[in-house]
Every structure is written in structure tokens, then in C-alpha cells.
């Protein structure tokens, strides 16, 4: 205890960079937008469709969360507790959907679903599960994996039946991670925008209403009011939620050494393959010409064929996307982990709530806010290339922190102190004790950050880019013109986006010792 009280200044200020990032990129712009544009905070609530959108956001978000957890915890359990062949591939399969442009996923779902289910609630729920299972897997799996096998064995030896082991040991240990994942998924689904626009004919969330008011109706004031209220509600809810999940996890140091279970291995692969179905549908679209099958879309994507579509500049798009993702991860992972470390040791609820803000704030509002906040020299950053990765980083930050906190909690704090007692310098403690223990957290955090950046999440799609094509933008631009070759090339680009993301995630996962 005494050691923690005399923590060096570096750990006391550790959470500040991430808080600064979010305040500067998300919170200040929202406040500026509200201050500069709102003239009447009340009138928007009586406009048609607003109350319906609020109600739909809430119940649809809750329903999506329950289903996502139910679906996601099965592969999480199997991958966490049993050796599974092709594990890195499965991890990539469960992570990749997170980055797919919603227009593309929407098209894949519409192609798969029977027409009667097109643009129905079922379609929305399925898409939300598809997108967000990665949140459950990425947040819960590392904790479950690091759960002490001896603890479970001891409980069993003492005569506890499986249900009792689950209720008495497993659930209390997993609860913080599961609640954390659930709150993220809920906010993601309640503030869903792209999925609702593509799949939800007639349904509308608050985020969709914000877009509609700001862009189509020219009512920026109303949009800013909705965005501010939504942000306050989400941040408050997440803060209260995190109070309930802030107990410490028990330390664990052993690695599961269970036997293979072929039946479970088959099951997890079946679930994995089900996740590949929409992706396969996408690949099929990239190969389907108006008369049959053809590689023309792929040849055209790589400039191997004469066509009258504009040059895709594919190398440039891949390079830009990857560079943005790496820069964003380079910002989000260190800042996020330093907050996570300090939040894991003692609750920092308000700080974590601030860092959660990007998930709850409408992308449109942030995008517009940035435009009018940082618009005078010397902080006229609107034209800077790094604005895009910095915004990516702030959007990824909550996912970085939330995937890392439970993992860091499960690291025994005593180890560092023991090393200190034995005379290790802070630097040696960091390199030889803490860093190896942080590895899984770094992995989870990097995978999230890379994936979110590649998929152009949220506010970033609303920023103006100069001479920089990225993969998602290329997909959108190809899908904005008629002709079979356009849609084939666009779908091929989306598949490529997936492959690049999957590849990066596999690469990151492989760097983690098992």
C-alpha cells in the first residue's frame, strides 16, 4: 500500500494524455458546436420522429446486446479455455466484421436474407450481432484465458458441480469484463447509424435523426441539442455501469492446459464459418458479372485490365489506410494503456467516463464541431493529414481502455512491488515485469485500434481528406456509379479491406506468446 501512495509522478499523470486526446478531439468540439449553433434547445423535441427514435434506440440497443452476448460468449469460452486448431484465424474471423463498411455489410445481408426479412428488425439485430461479437470476444477472452486453472480445479476437488464452479468462481472473475463488453455493445447498438440507414427502412435511432437534421434539414441547432443530450446520457450510464463492475479480479498466473475437445473445436469452427457467410456473399458479389462468374472486378482493382472506370489507385489506398491505422494505434495504444493501468489500480470513474465519450457522441456532431473549433491559425488543423489518424485514435481509445483494464486488473500488483523490494529500478521493473504481463492487453488494444481505423469509424468519415484515398472511401466511390463492373470492383475492394484487416490482426495476435 505504501508503495502505491508514493507512486512516481509519471503514474499519477499517466491518465492525462488519453483524457486530453478525448477532450480535445471530441468533447470540446461538441461543446463549441452547441455554443455556436443552438438557438432553441426545446423545439427539436417536438419534431416528428424524435421520441420514436429515442425509444427505438433504447430497446433495440438492449435487445441487440443480449443477443450479441449470448452468441459471442460461446466462441469466447471455447477459444479461451481449450486448445483450438487455427486459433489465430478464428480470432481474425471474429474481429474482422467490426471494420466492414456498413453499406457493404448491408448489401451482403440483403443478398443473404429472404426478401421477407429484408430491412426488418431481424436484419438489424443480425447485423448488430455480426458487427459486435468481436467486442465480446476481444474484451472477455483475454480475461477468461488468464483465469487460474488451479482455482477451478480446486473448486471441483472440493466437490463443486460445474454450475457451482461457474457461479462461485468463474462468473465473479468474468463479470467485470462481461459487463464492460455489454455496456460497449449496448452503446454501439443504441447509437447505431450505418446499419440502421442501410437495413432499417422506417426505423430510426437518435444518431440517424442527428444526421437527418444536420445534413438534410439544415437544422444544426436541433442536431447539436440531440447530440449533447445523447452524449450526457451515454456517459452517465457508462459511469454508473462501471461502478458496478469495478471489483478486482483475482490474480492468476497459470495458463490453461486442458485437453483438446474435438466437439467444441468443431462447434467454434461452425460459428466461425457462419461469420464468414456474409463475407463469402461479398466475395461472390465481387465475382458475379451480369451473365455469370468473372474475375474482371479483381483484375480491374489491380489495374490489370482496360476499363473505363477511373484508376483505383489501389496501392495508394492500401498504403494510406495502413499508415493511418498504424499512426492511430501508435497514439491510442500507449495513451490508452497508461490510463488503463492507472484505472485498474484504483477506480477512476470520471476519467474512464470521459474516455468513453467518443462511443456515445454522434460522429456528425464531432465532425462538424472539429470544423468550427480548430479553424483559426495557429490551430487551424483542418487541412492536416494527421487529423484523420488522431480522430481515429480518439474513437478507438475507449475500446483500447476497456479491453485492457480487466487484463491489467488480473495482473498481480505484488510482482512489481516484490521486484522493487529486491532492488529493481523502475525501468527494469517496467521492462522485465510489467511489460511482459501487459502483452495480452497490448495485443487486444492494438487489434481494436487497427480495426477501427481501417474501417473509418464514426467522425472520421465526416472529415475532409486531401488527396488521400483510403479503402473505405474507394469502396464508397465505386459503389456510387452504375454498372456491373463498378459493383464488382467495389466488392473486391471491400474484400481486400477485410483481408488487410484480418492480416494485421493475425500479425498482432501472433506476437503474443500463448
Amino acid at each position: 500500500m505504501s508503495l502505491r501512495q508514493t507512486a512516481p509522478w509519471s503514474s499519477r499523470f499517466a491518465p492525462l494524455p488519453s483524457a486530453f486526446l478525448v477532450v480535445a478531439v471530441v468533447i470540446v468540439p461538441l461543446i463549441v458546436l452547441v455554443v455556436e449553433t443552438v438557438d432553441d434547445p426545446w423545439s427539436v423535441w417536438s419534431r416528428p420522429g424524435i421520441t420514436g427514435a429515442v425509444w427505438f434506440s433504447v430497446w433495440q440497443g438492449a435487445l441487440s446486446t443480449v443477443i450479441t452476448l449470448a452468441v459471442g460468449l460461446v466462441p469466447t469460452w471455447i477459444l479461451a479455455r481449450f486448445p483450438v486448431r487455427g486459433r489465430p484465424i478464428l480470432m481474425a474471423v471474429f474481429t474482422a466484421p467490426f471494420v466492414l463498411p456498413t453499406v457493404v455489410v448491408g448489401a451482403a445481408f440483403l443478398a443473404l436474407l429472404p426478401t421477407s426479412l429484408d430491412r426488418s428488425l431481424v436484419a438489424i439485430l443480425l447485423a448488430h450481432v455480426f458487427f459486435n461479437v468481436s467486442v465480446v470476444v476481444r474484451t472477455v477472452l483475454p480475461v477468461w484465458r488468464s483465469m487460474d486453472e488451479n482455482l477451478l480445479a480446486a473448486a471441483r476437488t472440493l466437490g463443486a458441480d460445474p454450475l457451482k464452479v461457474w457461479r462461485g468462481v468463474t462468473w465473479p472473475l468474468l463479470r467485470p469484463a462481461i459487463l464492460s463488453a455489454a455496456s460497449l455493445v449496448f452503446v454501439m447498438c443504441a447509437t447505431s447509424y450505418g446499419v440502421i440507414r442501410v437495413l432499417g427502412s422506417g426505423w430510426s435511432t437518435v444518431d440517424v435523426e442527428i444526421y437527418r437534421r444536420a445534413v438534410a434539414l439544415g437544422d444544426v441547432s436541433g442536431a447539436a441539442v440531440l447530440a449533447a443530450v445523447q452524449a450526457l446520457v451515454v456517459i452517465t450510464a457508462l459511469t454508473m455501469w462501471s461502478r458496478r463492475s469495478s471489483e478486482w479480479a483475482v490474480l492468476s498466473t497459470t495458463i490453461p492446459t486442458r485437453r483438446r475437445r474435438p466437439a467444441l473445436e468443431v462447434l467454434v469452427w461452425i460459428i466461425g464459418l457462419a461469420f464468414l457467410v456474409p463475407i463469402a456473399a461479398l466475395a461472390a458479389t465481387s465475382l458475379r458479372s451480369s451473365t455469370g462468374w468473372s474475375l474482371a472486378g479483381w483484375r480491374n482493382l489491380f489495374g490489370l485490365t482496360e476499363s473505363r472506370l477511373p484508376d483505383t489507385k489501389i496501392v495508394e489506398a492500401v498504403t494510406n489506410s495502413a499508415a493511418y491505422a498504424v499512426v492511430a494505434a501508435g497514439i491510442a495504444v500507449p495513451t490508452g494503456l497508461s490510463l488503463a493501468r492507472s484505472a485498474a489500480r484504483r477506480p477512476r470513474r470520471w476519467l474512464t467516463a470521459i474516455v468513453d465519450a467518443p462511443i456515445g457522441i454522434s460522429a456528425v456532431a464531432v465532425g462538424l464541431g472539429i470544423l468550427i473549433t480548430y479553424d483559426v491559425d495557429p490551430i487551424d488543423v483542418r487541412a492536416s493529414w494527421w487529423l484523420v489518424p488522431v480522430v481515429h485514435a480518439s474513437v478507438a481509445l475507449p475500446f483500447v481502455v476497456r479491453s485492457a483494464v480487466p487484463l491489467i486488473r488480473s495482473i498481480p500488483s505484488g510482482l512489481g512491488e516484490a521486484a522493487a523490494t529486491l532492488g529493481a529500478s523502475p525501468w527494469r521493473r517496467w521492462v522485465h515485469v510489467e511489460l511482459p504481463l501487459l502483452r495480452p492487453a497490448v495485443t487486444a488494444a492494438s487489434a481494436f485500434s487497427l480495426a477501427m481505423s481501417l474501417g473509418e469509424f464514426g467522425a472520421t468519415s465526416f472529415l475532409t481528406r486531401r488527396d488521400t484515398t483510403t479503402l473505405p472511401i474507394l469502396v464508397e466511390s465505386l459503389l456510387s456509379r452504375p454498372g456491373s463492373l463498378s459493383v464488382m470492383t467495389g466488392s473486391a475492394t471491400a474484400v481486400l479491406l477485410l483481408v488487410v484487416t484480418g492480416g494485421l490482426v493475425v500479425l498482432v495476435d501472433r506476437r503474443t506468446p500463448t
Partner: protein
């Protein structure tokens, strides 16, 4: 930390107020895809590079331009159309400039209100998958009234007037045709006839339209979509083969796109020269097959693909900017209550 460090670096290499800039920034919507060499001539003549900055679809572009009026993100804006122009005019987004450097269609110039220069035009129209209709033994619809006939029940997909620019254009076409009193009844009848409303153009065209896996043979698109269907077909189609889709000429709404000098640019004269370049014959003749619009320059010839496959729309619906400005928000909200 990173943020402030980089900010300092960027500020340090920021441009100063030179009289001639090294480059101009042209703001445009995401699907603005001119050929790579489209600005070479301009650069050769002026020594100024043109950097294209993309910022969302046309609606998002204008929303951002309105917020940043007077302190813009670029020097010239490409792509405000007549359905959105009034918003830009109300917010004084532009420094008035109408290019007289090249001969432009006079009726287009008038609709720019003396503030912006017309760069192209096109028509938003219902497109028909002729093969699919033939298979069902149904004759193609001709007038807007046909679309509420039970024969065409569940055949039409349109995009959302509150989130997409063709959607708004089609709503305006029905208001122009049926008047302030009649359009709501027309839309109620369309809804009764099971019109499908989807979010945007690509959702309508690539998910609901029968040519691309959907079950609706009538889709809201553009008069220039049939030539694109021929040009971008796979397997390739010969230039003289018939287009697989056709256009319902009676359903069209004329969209005119403008370019303007953004108020607050440090380089007004150069920005005006760039607008001149945008309406030059050299630039304008690339428009049809790249952006699928018709050139505003009367001397820019149409390519064969357009002459062959794009229908001549003689009497499209139109609407004055002032009427759009006055009615748009009210109409869209009313429309939303009808279709949802």
C-alpha cells in the same frame, strides 16, 4: 502531447500570405472523380497545383460549407446543386463569381443567382430494368400517375428524401407536378402501392434493384445511368449494343450543379481562374463519362455513349431556388411522416 507537438510543427510550416499560392484546394463530394490529368493544363498555365479535398456526399459537403462560411476549408467548391444552393446562399458561403470565360447554357446560368457558375446538369429519373418487366409481362410505366396503378404494385424503389440527393430531387419532382396540395396524396398512394424507400442511391441500385439481386425493376437513378450500364458492363458490351436499362422520361427532375469561389479564400483571383478552368471545353468534355452528367459548356461535345444511350429529357421538372429554400425542410418533414 502528440497533439500539441504536431500542432507546433504544422504551424511552423504553414503557408504565409503569398500573393500567388503554390496550390489551390478544390472541395468536392466523394464521388468526384475527374481524370488524373484534368488539371494539368491549369497547372501549366498558372503554375498552381490543384489539390482535391473530398468531404462526404453533396449534402454533407454543403452542411460543412455552411458552418465554415467565411473561413472555408478550401478555395473553390464543386458540387452544390439547385436543391441545396439556397442553403449555401442564405449562409453566404460563396464570394459571387460567374465565369464568363466560356459559352455556357444560358438557362443554367440564370439558376445560379449570379453567385455561382453552373458546371453541369443531369436528370434524376426512374430507371427501368426492361428485361425484368418483360419477364413479368408488364408494360413499362410512362407517367408518374402510372406508378400508383396497382399493376406496378411493389415494383418501385426510391431513396430517402431526407438522406439522399436523388431522393430529395424526386420529392421535388412530385411537388412540382402535383402542387402544394396534391403531392401528399400522391405519396400516400405510392406508399399504398408499396413503394420501397431505402437510405441512399447505392442501397436502392445495388440491393433493391432487380438487376443487382433485388426484386424491384423500377429504381430511382439518373438519366445517365443507361450509358454507365453499357460503359461499365462486365462482360464488356459493344458500344452500339442496347443498354439493359431505360429511363422513364416523365419522372425526371433537373439537377444543376454549380462551382463557386468560397468566401474567405486568400486567393480570390486564382480561385476564379480555377472556376474558369472547370467550365473550359477541355475539362467539361471529361464530365459525361467520369461524373455521368451533361456539360454546361455548349461547345463540349457529348461522347457517343451518351448520344446513343442517354435519353433526351425535354421537359424535366424544375423548381426555383427560392421556392425550394422556403419549402424544403417543411416538405421533407411532412414526407417523413407519410413514408414512415
Amino acid at each position: 502531447m502528440t497533439f500539441s507537438l504536431v500542432a507546433v510543427v504544422v504551424a511552423a510550416c504553414g503557408s504565409s500570405d503569398d500573393s500567388t499560392p503554390d496550390r489551390l484546394v478544390l472541395l468536392a463530394y466523394d464521388s468526384f472523380t475527374p481524370p488524373d490529368d484534368a488539371f494539368d493544363l491549369f497547372t501549366a498555365e498558372t503554375g498552381i497545383e490543384v489539390q482535391i479535398a473530398l468531404g462526404g456526399d453533396a449534402g454533407e459537403l454543403i452542411a460543412k460549407a455552411v458552418l465554415t462560411a467565411g473561413n472555408p476549408e478550401g478555395d473553390v467548391l464543386w458540387g452544390v446543386d439547385n436543391t441545396l444552393l439556397s442553403r449555401a446562399l442564405d449562409a453566404e458561403v460563396f464570394d459571387p463569381y460567374v465565369s464568363l470565360a466560356h459559352p455556357l447554357r444560358p438557362e443554367l446560368i440564370d439558376s445560379g443567382a449570379g453567385v455561382v457558375t453552373p458546371v453541369d446538369y443531369g436528370d434524376v429519373c426512374i430507371n427501368i430494368d426492361d428485361g425484368a418487366l418483360l419477364d413479368r409481362g408488364i408494360t413499362p410505366p410512362v407517367t408518374l400517375d402510372d406508378l400508383i396503378d396497382p399493376i406496378y404494385r411493389s415494383l418501385l424503389v426510391v431513396s430517402d428524401a431526407s438522406t439522399s440527393s436523388p431522393g430529395l430531387a424526386f420529392l421535388l419532382a412530385t411537388i412540382d407536378r402535383f402542387g402544394d396540395d396534391g403531392w401528399t396524396d400522391y405519396w400516400r398512394a405510392l406508399v399504398d402501392n408499396d413503394v420501397l424507400v431505402v437510405s441512399g442511391w447505392s442501397d436502392a441500385y445495388y440491393t433493391a434493384f432487380s438487376r443487382y439481386g433485388g426484386d424491384r425493376p423500377l429504381v430511382l437513378s439518373y438519366a445517365s445511368s443507361p450509358p454507365a450500364e453499357v460503359l461499365f458492363a462486365d462482360p464488356p458490351l459493344a458500344d452500339d449494343s442496347p443498354a439493359p436499362t431505360s429511363v422513364m422520361v416523365d419522372s425526371c427532375f433537373r439537377q444543376i450543379e454549380f462551382a463557386g469561389v468560397l468566401r474567405g479564400t486568400k486567393f480570390t483571383n486564382e480561385a476564379r481562374r480555377l472556376v474558369d478552368h472547370l467550365v473550359s471545353v477541355e475539362f467539361q468534355r471529361t464530365l459525361p463519362e467520369n461524373l455521368f452528367v451533361f456539360p454546361s459548356n455548349t461547345e463540349a461535345e457529348l461522347p457517343t455513349s451518351f448520344l446513343r444511350h442517354a435519353p433526351v429529357v425535354t421537359a424535366p421538372s424544375t423548381m426555383e431556388a427560392s421556392r425550394i429554400s422556403e419549402g424544403r425542410a417543411r416538405w421533407v418533414e411532412e414526407w417523413l411522416t407519410i413514408v414512415s
